[in-house]
């Protein structure tokens, strides 16, 4: 109870200290001189007062758009101070010397005013990539970058403006498509829905589609944004224009898909200094505040205690890691869950909440101290925020076996050398990547080409078997034909009578084969075939004579050894007739 009262007393002191502090309002420009259409950043700082709504800032010749809010509270030597910063993008639309009048801020029922600011605007030489200086062009685009330099990880609010002449109808194509940047070495935030407004440029009024996003350089060096491109479906009337204010539904429109490019820009990305870098720095760049809350303030050992750590402000929440806990002796600290709540449409300002679950392993009376460091790009210094020591009452017996948990951070000295004890994943693989495909194997062309190998092999096997069978089937026929050709050659060319007669008789025996086509006919005796009734008698007699002459010549050695041409002709004639009748 006493500790509770002490906590309330501290809060009361803090609130009182804040209330006692003097309120101050100031405004500053990132640059005092710039070119036409070259934006600068305007910061309005309100010290020691709670202001939630951004003050209205208007100046002739300047387009001023609100970009984000950040707030910071700190207590030093029991003296509390808070700073709220409203950031604006100021874009000059023409050359000249411009004055931003004193900005009025209402805080605590009182009106405070900043000093007036002066901005020198000179005419830049040349136009942008898409000819924004060309008043004849019906549509063009411009990229607005408010800074010329930034730090790695610092979010730079940027605007992409797409101008369309009055009377032109337009819509992003395809619908929902956002602009695409040409360049590398940066990441962009997700785009919110574009806004539309009416602006005057080069003395003409345009309907303007404005895309806002945040850009963050990831590598030190010169960051070249070549252009940003957005595709629109543009419908422009052709023919004589209707009178202003009169909508003629019959007027024909020419529709086209137009790819509109913005101008380019260069930003110098500076690396975050290493000198003076706190151990608890994890890459957060911007301006932040730290707030903690805990529930319950009284518990037993082993009871879970929820500690909420809220880091709010303006900066890159994507690069922000969990803060470091120190003085964790006697505590088991578990990995916190994280949640980001954006306070503006591009997520430049917001709150990141870390919810820790703590379990006291023994009676303790103080919560762990939360420490968070970030780099402030405005002051170019590291800032370390620490939570105020909070009393807590933990009773009960110590828990047995205090095992180091993944997120546990016991010893403060160890803590400093290891600022973050986040749950980790297994290390990366360094062996060369083997190319692979997401396409299922059965949908890959290569798979089906592979199947051609066994298919061809099977086809060849089948063909070979067929050929072999055909060869076996036709072998006797081929042999007979070959023998017949040789015999006929002998009959025509040989001078030996017995040889020619022998060949002629053999040819007589083989001839019927061709007609009959029956293999067994080959072995049928010649005599049997001669008894065939269809055979002419004179041919039968001639064949019989030929057989008798052959037998007499070969076995009886009767007659001449050489063949006369007359006899050869006769033999050939018999053979020809035999062949014809067979």
């Amino acid at each position: 109870m006493r500790k509770k009262l002490a906590t309330i007393f501290i809060f009361w002191l803090w609130a009182g200290a804040l209330a006692m502090a003097d309120t101050a309002v100031s405004a500053s420009l990132s640059e005092t001189s710039t070119d036409v259409d070259h934006p600068v950043q305007l910061d309005v700082k309100i010290e020691n007062a709670r202001v939630t709504r951004p003050p209205n800032v208007i100046a002739d010749g300047l387009s001023i758009d609100f970009a984000g809010t950040s707030s910071q509270t700190q207590i030093l030597n029991f003296k509390a101070s808070s700073v709220t910063t409203f950031t604006y993008i100021v874009t000059p639309t023409k050359a000249g010397l411009f004055q931003i009048p004193p900005i009025e801020v209402v805080a605590g029922g009182k009106v405070y005013k900043t000093a007036s600011l002066t901005l020198q605007v000179v005419q830049e030489n040349g136009g942008n990539a898409d000819g924004s200086t060309n008043p004849e062009k019906p549509f063009f685009a411009e990229l607005i970058v408010p800074k010329e330099s930034a730090y790695v990880g610092e979010v730079i609010p940027i605007e992409l403006r797409f101008y369309f002449s009055q009377g032109i109808e337009y819509q992003p194509y395809p619908q929902g498509q956002f602009p695409v940047f040409d360049g590398e070495g940066f990441v962009t935030k997700k785009y919110p829905e574009p806004i539309e407004k009416r602006l005057t440029a080069n003395g003409r009024t345009y309907n303007v589609v404005v895309y806002r996003t945040g850009l963050c350089g990831v590598k030190p060096g010169k960051l070249d944004l070549n252009s940003a491109t957005q595709t629109f479906l543009v419908a422009a009337p052709f023919g004589p224009r209707s009178a202003p204010g009169f909508v003629d539904p019959t007027q024909p429109y020419q529709q086209q898909v137009a790819e509109i490019k913005t101008n380019g820009a260069s930003i110098l990305i500076k690396s975050i200094p290493t000198a003076g870098r706190p151990a608890s720095f994890s890459g957060a760049v911007g301006e932040f505040t730290l707030a903690t809350s805990v529930n319950p303030l009284q518990a037993q050992t082993g009871d879970p205690i929820k500690m909420e750590v809220e880091i709010s402000g303006l900066g890159n929440f994507d690069r922000m890691e969990q803060p470091v806990l120190s003085s964790t002796d006697g505590w088991r600290v578990y990995q916190p869950s994280e949640q980001v709540k954006a306070l503006d449409e591009i997520g430049l300002s917001g709150t990141k909440q870390f919810s820790y679950v703590l379990i006291a392993a023994k009676p303790v009376n103080m919560l762990p101290i939360v420490e968070f460091s970030y780099f402030n790009p405005t002051s170019e210094k590291f800032v370390t925020l620490k939570s105020t020591p909070t009393n807590i009452q933990i009773d009960g017996p110590p828990l047995p076996d205090i095992v180091a948990t993944p997120g546990a951070q016991g010893d403060t000295s160890v803590q400093k050398s290891k600022p973050r004890a986040t749950p980790d994943v297994l290390d990366i693989r360094v062996d060369r990547p083997v190319p692979a495909s997401f396409v299922p194997l059965i949908r890959r062309r290569g798979f089906w080409i592979e199947q051609a190998i066994p298919a061809i092999a099977l086809l060849l096997l089948g063909s070979a078997a067929g050929v072999r069978r055909a060869v076996i089937a036709h072998q006797p026929q081929w042999t007979v034909n070959r023998e017949k050709r040789l015999l006929w050659k002998k009959i025509v060319g040989s001078k030996s009578r017995p040889e020619v007669l022998q060949a002629a008789v053999r040819l007589l025996e083989l001839s019927p084969i061709k007609r009959s086509g029956q293999q067994k006919g080959l072995f049928r005796p010649l005599e049997e075939r001669m008894n065939n009734e269809s055979l002419p008698d004179d041919l039968r007699n001639q064949v019989r004579d030929l057989l008798a002459v052959r037998e007499a010549t070969i076995y009886g050695h009767v007659g001449s050894e050489s063949l006369s041409e007359e006899e050869r002709t006769k033999i050939k004639s018999v053979l020809t007739r035999w062949k014809a009748t067979a």
Partner: protein, 261 residues
């Protein structure tokens, strides 16, 4: 002499056939252009130096170039994890496992990240089988051809060879049918190009494509959804529970990366 000549001819034909086969295989299995070694090393070095943003950018460049590999997606998943984007870490571990279902590191990291997000996704038997769809396709094709060749042998003149061919043909045919039916059962599985993963800690599945729409159910990080159609910033999809509804497109990302994304 004739016999020697015939042997020589046979050998020549065999060597020609072998050469043709080798050329054919080299064309089929030709390895695509390898990764830029320096880019891979640079990305890994950046990761090791704790420059996770740089490492992520370099890994993403390889992904955009279509140089997909299990190792690349695994390392990219680690980079996203280090940057605090657990949703995209899960997505990339799943991609890595799709390309190499045996990548144990990816399995372990996916389990850890899902646990951190409080999601407990237990893969079904079908999911496990689906991971090996390519293996089943390969087995089916090999079994089919073995059965075809064995069938040819079964009609051969040698009795013993014919008997053996018949047995092999029956066994291979059953293997082919089993693998083919498994493939039909699992379909495209996780390689479905319309399958997406919820990449934010939670996503409301709504009845209509509007922020003010009534919620059907709340999806958790790592949950799978089947994309049916897209309209503006909203995606009409089917959750794994079977519910149909609309979620913000930015809250879920397809597992199969679209070319050039």
């Amino acid at each position: 002499m004739i016999c020697l000549r015939s042997n020589f001819r046979r050998r020549r034909v065999a060597s020609l056939a072998l050469s043709a086969f080798c050329i054919f295989c080299s064309l089929i299995f030709a390895v695509p252009p390898s990764f830029g070694d320096s880019q891979w090393d640079t990305a890994n070095k950046a990761y090791r130096d704790g420059k996770f943003e740089e490492a992520k950018v370099d890994y993403l460049r390889s992904v955009r170039a279509g140089q997909y590999s299990a190792n690349l997606f695994y390392n990219l998943g680690n980079a996203w994890f280090k940057l605090g984007d657990h949703g995209r870490a899960i997505l990339n571990y799943e991609r890595a496992l799709l390309l190499d279902p045996g990548l144990d590191e990816a399995k372990a990291n996916l389990r850890s990240v899902l646990k951190l997000g409080g999601t407990d996704i237990r893969p079904t038997f079908r999911d496990v089988v689906s991971d090996y769809a390519d293996v089943f396709a390969r087995v089916a094709s090999i079994a089919f051809w073995i059965s075809a060749f064995a069938l040819v042998a079964a009609f051969g003149r040698h009795a013993r060879l014919a008997r053996l061919g018949l047995v092999v043909c029956i066994v291979a045919a059953f293997t082919f049918l089993g693998s083919a039916f498994t493939l039909l059962w699992i379909g495209v599985g996780p390689r479905d190009p319309d399958l997406a993963v919820v990449i934010t800690p939670s996503a409301e599945l709504k009845y209509g494509p509007a922020v003010s729409g009534r919620s059907v159910e709340t999806l958790q990080i790592g949950d799978h959804v089947q994309v049916i159609s897209e309209r503006g910033d909203w995606t009409f999809c089917r959750a794994s529970s079977g519910s149909l509804g609309w979620i913000l497109t930015q809250k879920a990302e397809r597992i199969i990366p679209s070319s050039g994304s």
